[in-house]
Symmetry: none
Subunit: 211 residues, 4 copies
DNA sequence: TATGAATGAGTCTTCATTCAT
DNA sequence: AATGAATGAAGACTCATTCAT
């Protein structure tokens, strides 16, 4: 039986399925995502986005009330997609804190490898949101952080994790996953996403003293 | 006699001594640093910077030829200061790869804890530089990366490090230090910089399988 | 039957029919023409032009990509209108070089008398164009110059012209026509355009030794 | 005895002797002349002129009270030099109107050939002067025009000139001399100034019907 | 005499947004 | 749903000029 030589697409999809494919709106979101990720929110003009979506700038306002609304939707979408995947992975993992940690890190890394632009925008461009638009995003972030915290705490209580410093450890684990969005799409070798995730999972186990 | 409970100032200095204290120029740099770190390069206007430096916007041009030149100087300065500190720490460390890794991580973390705004600007705002302005910065980055790479390689050859994946490991170590600039200044507890550095050094040793 | 005493309007039209009357665009062109002719390109601000066209300065950019583009259009338009008139006059003239010279000079003078501002802008402000914008203009100028040259050459070969110096003569003929744009609109007496043209035609015939 | 092969210098002097050679002031005037002639008054900044004169812009104000004062001095200087030369040539000519016309045209052409930049600035940039600064210039212009007018009138009264139209003729004669400043420095052939002047003198005689 | 720094007004152009069509 | 034209505010930058040194 012929095996496919390539297991990941050469170019990652821009938007997750939950947001893709429904016409003009998603064309605008895709345009915004690419440009915000590449140049940043303030370096991208409404006209740039319109051009990338093959329309006039005024037409954007038939779909979004403002430039900020487009960023807000992208940032929220990135957080929702991520949180839902992490949550789902946790539910599939058994009760062992080690399995739970691995589940979190794997899906965390894979999501950032699959949607690097969304990772960049959600993490680095979210600071351009007004407090109002940022609020629901922060809520999700806190839930995600709490989830990792919970797993670490349970591992400590179960005696399988020996943390050096809770805060530093959890920040390090979270950060190294996010950074994947930045460097992995530009990697020189042909490293696969699954291979990458394996490495980070093992790394995480070492960081919590469980390997 | 009462001992001071806090050994580091509550607010870190903005610029390293190498750039501070020489008049108008450094006042402009300090203004740019604060604003670029807080809002980002494109969200900061030349008038904002002038106001923060208590002068008219046109007066900036007596000291810098363009807005980009201010960013370029800050980014370069951040990289130079960082690289020089890392280099100096390496020279003070003994020949043991473990000591060398600890030396690198400690100074890496401490630098980002002491100059968090410079860390943010140097790492996140440098993408707003033109290729010409970015070139010398990239050269320094490559040297710093090579240094960490060298230490890891030597540790592996000496049999004291068991790396899971060289690239992933080095990226994770570098990233977790940089992220300090982001979260540590806003920490809730009264964590000291030295304590933070200790934790990250131990974490790094675990990551390379040497703890 | 009563003859009208005045055959030309007291104030010449600003733009030739080929460019006039089509809405906002030509209102901007007319504003630019008047101001460029009166004050010069660099002494005219985009705001001055907007005010003269009764709009905001930003609105100009819905119709022209830059200030230079407005000048470029005016200069090109002036050259095109002029060249087409000269060409048309030549075609109506018989084969006699004297008739041809008179035809050229008459239309040359009349055009500058009818559209003096366009003459001033096309001839004196064209130096403010970038090489790219100036190229098509230069092409037309060369064609016009070649036409006069051709007529003079033919007259010499036919023995009806005795030139003192070809280059000096053709420059003098061309220049005296262009200068009409400058002094004729401010003439003290009530000199008619037709009368003016008659004088210049006779003058030209003398200059080539054919009178 | 060796004859000089070249009767005119390859590059015409910038300023006439009356203004040259007295230090910083004339260095500034020379810089202004070159730049005003090349780019125009409004396209030349005070900093451009300072750079061309190898000094700081603020230093110009030790020698001239304003940018306009530099233009005013150049324009006045050009007119004075020109008028004095024309006057002197007239005094050397005999009483014959033909000789007088030739004398005027010759010196008119030669002056513009020798100081083309001064000719350009005096004739085309003088419109950028305020009425106050323009007044003495206009006075000289009127005297020069009156002089030509006088010669033409005398020739008519003496029956040696048959004018077609006084105003048109005098404008044409004056204009063709001024235009020399524009085209002659860029001539393709190696035409000498004396040769040029001869041609224009003969042309003028034809124009007045005296050849 | 010369200058570096400073300034307020101005430059052209782009911005996000609105609105009538 | 889409657009061309319009706008007021703002963008980075340059202007001619001033002044203390």
């Amino acid at each position: 039986m012929a095996r496919s030589v390539r297991s990941t697409p050469p170019v990652a999809p821009v938007l997750p399925p939950s947001a893709a494919s429904n016409g003009t709106r998603s064309r605008i979101l895709a345009a915004g995502l690419e440009l915000f990720a590449e140049r940043g929110y303030h370096a991208t003009s409404i006209r740039d986005m319109a051009a990338a979506a093959d329309m006039q700038s005024a037409s954007l306002y038939s779909h979004f009330p403002s430039k900020e609304a487009i960023l807000a939707e992208l940032v929220l979408l990135g957080h929702e997609e991520h949180h839902q995947r992490v949550l789902s992975a946790m539910l599939d993992a058994g009760p062992d804190p080690r399995d739970q940690l691995v589940a979190i890190v794997r899906v965390h890394v894979l999501t950032h490898a699959e949607f690097p632009m969304l990772g960049v925008v959600a993490n680095y461009e979210r600071h351009n949101l007004s407090p109002t638009a940022a609020a629901p995003v922060l809520a999700i972030r806190r839930r995600s952080e709490a989830l990792l915290h919970e797993v670490l705490e349970r591992g400590v209580r179960a005696g399988v994790f020996q943390l050096l410093h809770e805060d530093a450890t959890s920040r390090a684990i979270a950060t190294m996953g996010v950074s994947v969005a930045t460097w992995w799409p530009e990697r020189a070798d042909g490293m696969e996403a699954a291979e990458l995730a394996d490495a980070y999972c093992a790394l995480a186990l070492r960081m919590v003293g469980a390997a």
